[in-house]
Amino acid sequence: MRELSAPRGSWVIAASYLVALILTVWPLPQWAEVFRPAWVPLVTIYWCLWLPERVGVIIAFFAGLLVDALSGTLLGEHALALVMVAWVALWMHLQVRVFPWWQQCVVILGILALHGLVLFWVDGMLGYTAGAAMRWVPALVSAALWPWILQIMSRSQQRYHVG
């Protein structure tokens, strides 16, 4: 497929990940910390749905390693969670693309719940079980934000002809 049209706009994908990483560690007040959307999984889901031949589990894995390095978690923890996210997104991308927005939100909620579950599972094995009730909040917030993320991402994809 690459021989037909050379991949264009790789920098847009890289820039979207950079922005997502910055937002992931952007300082928030203590109480707002649990409401932080899962930016990197959202970006990964978008690219896996709309550009599955460019962004897949390998990019998700390396993005996860960067998140691990940034957020001080065990090396491989976010990588594993993001690989799962990318895998489900790739698996469902044909269906999800034609879903109406609210149905997409439900799917995103499901994928991010899986993401949170993987993180919770690894954290639980390490003994970090505090605040378990708040683990679902990022998935809810992210799924609620999905229509806007979709708009912003698809506009920049069209604008810079990423394909």
Binding site: M1, L4, S5, L18, L21, I22, V25, W26, P27, L28, Q30, E33, V34, R36, L51, P52, E53, G56, V57, I58, A60, F61, G64, L65, L66, D68, A69, L70, S71, G72, T73, L74, L75, G76, E77, A79, L80, V83, M84, A86, W87, L90, W91, H93, L94, V122, D123, L126, G127, Y128, T129, A130, G131, R135
Partner: protein, 307 residues
């Protein structure tokens, strides 16, 4: 293959047969990384490389704060500077007065310890570091500071602030280090109650400025307002630094231990400046100090004895 070829005709809609294998491979690598990182902690080079890679992100995130501080410094008026200078001078005078007494007390303490043949208190040098504003995992209590192995920071190093123990360096990368706060749910610190000498453990919980003392018996002599300091047992933290103040003590006859909470002495939630602590000599074998050890309710977590 015919099926795949038919699906592939509009290029964007291809689902590659290699996907499952690749996914399993990546999952396997992630799990191996985690196990290896957790069990041996020997992925330092990968960590250092990744940390250098994400260093720009941390700088970008910290930029607004450092810009504000810089602008605040530049735009400060003469008047404010003079006032601040006066305040600092008077505070320095007060501190000096306290220190005079401290020197005498320290000498007396050393003499007494000599009489008791107890180990001398550890002293050392400190150096200031700034906490970068990058937020880490919300379920762990960690911060990133702007000093790394280039500035002789090492793993396990004690971090304090003006009021007490902040935590310890859990990862030292070249340009920055990760400090795990004492309030982290995975941290335990060896403490003693300053008033009575009762030794126990203080463990972090979900709250950023709160510690739990889970192994205090119902009969223990402890009350609200008691200062809790490091005991130096285990050799991780220097002895005698403030850890927290008891805020809650509740006897529960149905349980073997009382319900004890402490507020951290250090300003963990809003502090921006911390001090790194280098002990002058390797910590002495505090485990063998002559005090009766009956008040220790739990075995020291990783009591490393150093010669």
């Amino acid at each position: 293959m015919a099926v795949f070829r038919r699906q592939r005709s509009p290029q964007l809609f291809s689902s590659r047969p290699a996907g499952a294998l690749r996914t399993l491979l990546m999952i396997g690598i992630s799990i191996m990384l985690m196990v290896y990182d957790h069990e041996t902690g020997r992925l330092k080079q990968i960590h250092a490389a990744l940390a250098t890679l994400v260093w720009p992100v941390q700088v970008i995130v910290d930029a607004p704060h450092s810009l504000m501080t810089w602008a605040g410094d530049k735009l400060a008026t003469h008047r404010t500077l003079v006032t601040e200078n006066e305040q600092l001078k008077s505070r320095l005078l007060q501190e000096d007065a306290t220190l005079q007494q401290f020197a005498a007390l320290q000498q007396e303490n050393q003499r007494l310890r000599g009489l008791m043949q107890a180990a001398a208190q550890v002293s050392g040098r400190v150096s200031a570091a700034t906490i970068l504003s990058a937020a880490l995992d919300p379920f762990r209590h960690m911060v990133v500071i702007d000093k790394g192995t280039h500035d002789d920071v090492y793993e396990g190093q004690t971090v304090i602030d003006a009021y007490g123990i902040v935590g310890q360096v859990t990862r030292a990368d070249p340009l920055a280090s990760e400090v795990t706060l004492i309030s982290d749910p995975g941290q335990a610190i060896q403490v003693e109650v300053n008033r009575t000498g009762l030794r126990t453990l203080a463990v972090g919980d979900a709250d950023l400025s709160e510690l739990t003392l889970p192994y205090v018996t119902n009969s223990a002599d402890i009350k609200e307002g008691d200062l809790v300091v490091t005991s130096g047992l285990g050799g991780h933290y220097p002895a005698g630094y403030p850890v927290g103040v008891i805020t809650h003590f509740e006897r529960d006859p149905a349980e073997p231990f009382a319900h004890v909470l402490a507020r951290t002495a250090a300003d963990l939630s809003s502090g921006h400046e911390v001090l790194l602590f280098w002990p002058a000599q390797p910590p002495p074998e505090t485990e063998l100090s002559p005090k009766p050890a009956s008040s220790i309710k739990a075995a020291p977590k990783s009591g490393k004895k150093r010669p």
